[in-house]
């Protein structure tokens, strides 16, 4: 039976709405606040006010992965080098949270994954330490230097030149003329990325989506728009440049290698082919969050008598070999 692609995509967006997981979101926000206060207490006047970044700030979040980032902007003289800044923040967070979270060094951030709580929830917060470029300049331009802990696409490990006005990044989505459509497509691509463990950073998907809207006339229903963006990625990802709105000399396209870009282009090509050929396959690429099924499906219990709303999936089918 054919799937109505537009209806399905709307359901995907609805089931992944952040508001559906308000309690879990609140836990994230609380934890982020706690970390922010701990950093301010530890670093005092070396630190400007930490602020929220990530998709929640950009209204492009989805409830399977909150992307709760906390930017910690340090003063120029707080640390001799960016590496020392990064290590200091890691050491502090590790010491403070080692008994209640896994603290991991990531590409430009320190990831905290808190142990499962009594409700079975896991809270994750990424802390991104950054340092102003020159003394007292941050309040004027919001530019920060980040430390690159591990190889990141074409950007080398140990490199310290990712300069980024993160506030400008946030404004980039918020201020877009077609911000609602842009946000919808970004959320859908993030659903795809999440369920299929794809490599591109969310920020990359955001920028290339905005670029597609800027370069192409994208209209029609939601599937038309998603398809147009996927076609843009398929055709242009290998050559497109994606200047960081926070710093135009910083090309976010470099966060993927050429081979990663080939793979992404091929991902889009295959995905469009499969969905056009058989609309049902859209469900495998863009699944509904089974925890929050659309109301019409929730009413009709499925053939296994399992209410998917409680998190159980339909039993696997028999395969042969």
């Amino acid at each position: 039976m054919a799937t109505n692609k537009n209806k399905h995509l709307e359901d995907v967006l609805t089931s992944h709405k952040i508001s559906k997981e308000q309690a879990l979101l609140d836990k994230h926000i609380d934890k982020r606040k706690e970390i922010s206060e701990a950093l301010q207490e530890k670093y005092g006047s070396d630190l400007y006010s930490p602020f929220n970044s990530g998709s929640y700030a950009k209204h492009t979040a989805m409830n399977k992965k909150f992307d709760i980032d906390l930017i910690a902007p340090y003063k120029r003289n707080a640390f001799e080098t960016l590496e020392k800044m990064y290590n200091s923040v890691y050491d502090f967070l590790y010491d403070k949270y080692k008994n209640e979270a896994t603290v991991k060094q990531q590409k430009v951030s320190i990831g905290l994954k808190f142990n499962t709580d009594a409700d079975g929830d896991i809270v994750k917060v990424d802390v991104v330490p950054g340092r102003e470029l020159n003394k007292d300049q941050y309040p004027d331009d919001n530019n920060l230097n980040l430390y690159v802990y591990e190889q990141f696409g074409k950007i080398d490990k140990g490199s310290d030149r990712i300069k980024s006005n993160i506030k400008a990044q946030i404004e980039n989505v918020k201020g877009h003329a077609e911000k609602d459509s842009v946000r919808q497509i970004i959320r859908l691509l993030k659903v795809w990325k999440f369920y299929n463990s794809k490599k591109p950073k969310s920020f990359f998907l955001e920028l290339i989506t905005i670029k597609a809207f800027d370069k192409k006339t994208i209209s029609g229903d939601i599937w038309d728009k998603l398809k147009a963006v996927m076609e843009f990625i398929r055709d242009e990802v290998k050559s497109v440049s994606l200047p960081d709105p926070g710093n135009s000399s910083n090309d976010i396209a470099d966060t993927l290698t050429d081979s990663d870009k080939d793979t992404l282009s091929y991902d889009m090509k295959r995905m469009i082919e499969r969905i056009e050929e058989d609309s049902d396959t859209i469900k495998s690429y863009y699944p509904i969050n089974e925890k929050f099924p659309p109301e019409d499906e929730e009413k009709s219990s499925n053939s296994y008598g399992v209410k998917t709303g409680i998190g159980l999936s339909v039993p696997p089918v028999t395969r042969f070999g």
């Binding site: 463990s197 080939d262 696997p316 395969r319």
Partner: protein
């Protein structure tokens, strides 16, 4: 006009060819002599036309042009016949014209212009195939003058060309105190061994450049006095076998070592000592007695798989195959025939007679463990594959999955493999493999009823994708095969139905690995609407 008359008439009309001795029937063979002129060259040939002519016989032309004065030229057989391969024609007259044209071409190319082919031609040895020695590479660079003993094993007794053929494999070369093992798999290394000898002489022992020497005396210039002393020592030892093989090694182009084999009668060694006149010293000599050559074959990995193999990214990988039913057994067999050398097999199950019709098992071995039978089968195919077995591995995995210490050990064990083919159709296995941190290349392969589709899932999200797709493709299970008394229904499909899909899938996987393309989940959809066809649906 009969065949003889036609031959006489046609040959007489060919430009540059004159009959010097009329064609006559000698039994079933037509025989005559000709002189053939090409430019300034003029050569005599005895022409023998065999009964099958103008048809070919055993891949050879059934006409012979013989002149034993031409032995030193390329493409001349030991009996002096020119080796010609010409156009096919079932028409006698036309075939004669083709063959004489081909003879003239040989004269122009090899006799007048002295052309040498770029590919190496082995020396021609008057060997018989009663015994065939297979050799492979060892980790040692032989140099001129090396000699010592070898061990060899009987591999099999066969029959062909109206005679018994014994195949033997060379196992080890012993030089002084060092022993160098031939690179067979352990199954073959463990065969019972017998003793023989070897000498490495650097250049092929030939007369006329291409023909092996035929007398022991002709070998004398190639070997050292030390070797003859060694031979003398051996000849005085007690030897239980009636003949002792002597491998004679030499280099051929490409720094490759080739071995020929001659049998020494243990009661009649060819060596003797001769007093040096005017001294009390003796010199070792070899008698002017015929050498009894037997066949050898270079059976090294490169030759064994020379006609075709998988890409080296696959053949050099350590590969695990889980689940040895119709799909898994065919995957494993295909990998080994494709040159893969390190295979692990996992299955708890027993092969029953009804498995044989669509899996790589034999009726003759009866009820048997799948891992044991398939391992044996794989080793029979390739002398280079090491196979490891486990019937409990995935059972253990399931039981210990939630024990942290065991889980680490289990995952480390799985991650030792570069590639895992999961053909178990066991969702628990797919679920476990999906959790590997340092993913090997994993392919979970299964088919739908009637082999309508083959599904191949890869990480990440292997488990979820596979079940999503299987569900979307799922056809009714009402049509399963469920014979009376059978404990479990199974799918319907023949060997042909299944293997055509498995081979297609393996070709696609091997191509992706070879081209370093990203590995993607896919399924193969079959259709018979417009003739049978298979479509690749990659995700």
């Amino acid at each position: 006009m009969n065949k003889l008359e036609t031959v006489a008439e046609v040959v007489g009309t060919i430009d540059g060819v004159a009959i010097t001795s009329a064609f006559v029937e000698d039994g079933e063979v037509i025989v005559g002599s000709v002189i053939v002129k090409v430019d300034e060259a003029s050569l005599d040939f005895l022409v023998r036309i065999l009964p099958a002519y103008p048809q070919q016989f055993h891949d050879s032309e059934s006409i012979r042009f013989v002149n034993s004065d031409l032995l030193k030229y390329s493409h001349v057989n030991a009996d002096g016949s020119i080796c010609v391969h010409t156009h096919h024609s079932p028409v006698l007259k036309e075939k004669l014209l083709f063959d004489f044209a081909s003879l003239k071409e040989w004269i122009r190319k090899y006799y007048i212009n002295g052309a040498k082919d770029s590919h190496y031609e082995h020396i021609i040895v008057p060997q018989d195939d009663r015994a065939v020695f297979l050799f492979t590479t060892v980790d040692y660079n032989f140099t001129k003058g090396d000699f010592g003993s070898i061990t060899y094993s009987k591999l099999a007794i066969g029959f062909g060309k109206d005679q018994r053929i014994e195949t033997l494999i060379v196992q080890q070369f012993k030089l002084g105190k060092s022993t160098f093992d031939c690179k067979w798999s352990s199954v073959y290394k463990n065969l019972d061994k017998r003793d023989g000898l070897f000498v490495f002489i650097e250049n092929a022992p030939t007369v006329n450049g291409r023909f092996a020497i035929s007398s022991w005396a002709e070998l004398e210039p190639y070997v050292s006095q030390e070797f003859l002393k060694f031979l003398n020592f051996i000849s005085r030892s007690r030897v239980s076998e009636s003949v002792i093989p002597l491998l004679i090694g030499y280099k051929i182009p490409g720094e490759e070592v080739h071995w020929q084999c001659v049998l020494i009668p243990s009661r009649n060694f060819p060596n003797y000592a001769e007093k040096i006149p005017g001294t009390t010293n003796y010199i070792g000599r070899l008698a002017d007695e015929p050498m009894q050559w037997v066949s050898t074959r270079n059976c090294s990995y490169e030759y064994f798989f020379g006609r075709g193999s998988f890409t080296s990214e696959l053949t050099n990988s350590k590969i695990l195959v889980i689940g040895l039913g119709a799909i898994g057994s065919n995957v494993a067999t295909t990998l080994v025939r494709g040159g893969c050398r390190n295979i692990g097999l996992v299955d708890y199950d027993i092969k029953e007679p009804e498995n044989v019709c669509r899996a790589e098992y034999l009726f003759s071995t009866g009820v048997n463990s799948k891992i044991n039978e398939l391992s044996d089968h794989l080793s029979r195919i390739s002398p280079f594959v090491e196979v490891s077995l486990s019937d409990r591995f995935m059972d253990l995995a399931k039981v210990t999955l939630n024990d942290q210490a065991w889980r680490i050990t289990l995952f480390q064990k799985l991650e030792e493999y570069d590639i895992i083919f999961d053909c178990s159709t066991d969702n628990d296995v797919a679920f476990i493999l999906d959790q590997l941190d340092r993913p090997s290349k994993i392919f979970t392969i299964s088919i739908t009823n009637n082999a309508k589709e083959l599904i191949c899932a890869v990480p990440p999200k292997l488990y979820k994708w596979m079940n999503d797709i299987a569900r979307s493709l799922s056809v009714s299970d009402d049509d399963l095969y469920n014979p009376n008394g059978c404990w479990n229904p199974t799918f319907k499909a023949s060997y042909n139905d299944i293997v055509v899909l498995v081979q297609f899938a393996l070709k696609h996987i091997a191509t992706s690995i070879k081209t370093h393309s990203s590995l993607r989940s896919f399924y193969l959809a079959t259709s018979t609407e417009d003739g049978f066809n298979i479509k690749l649906k990659e995700f």
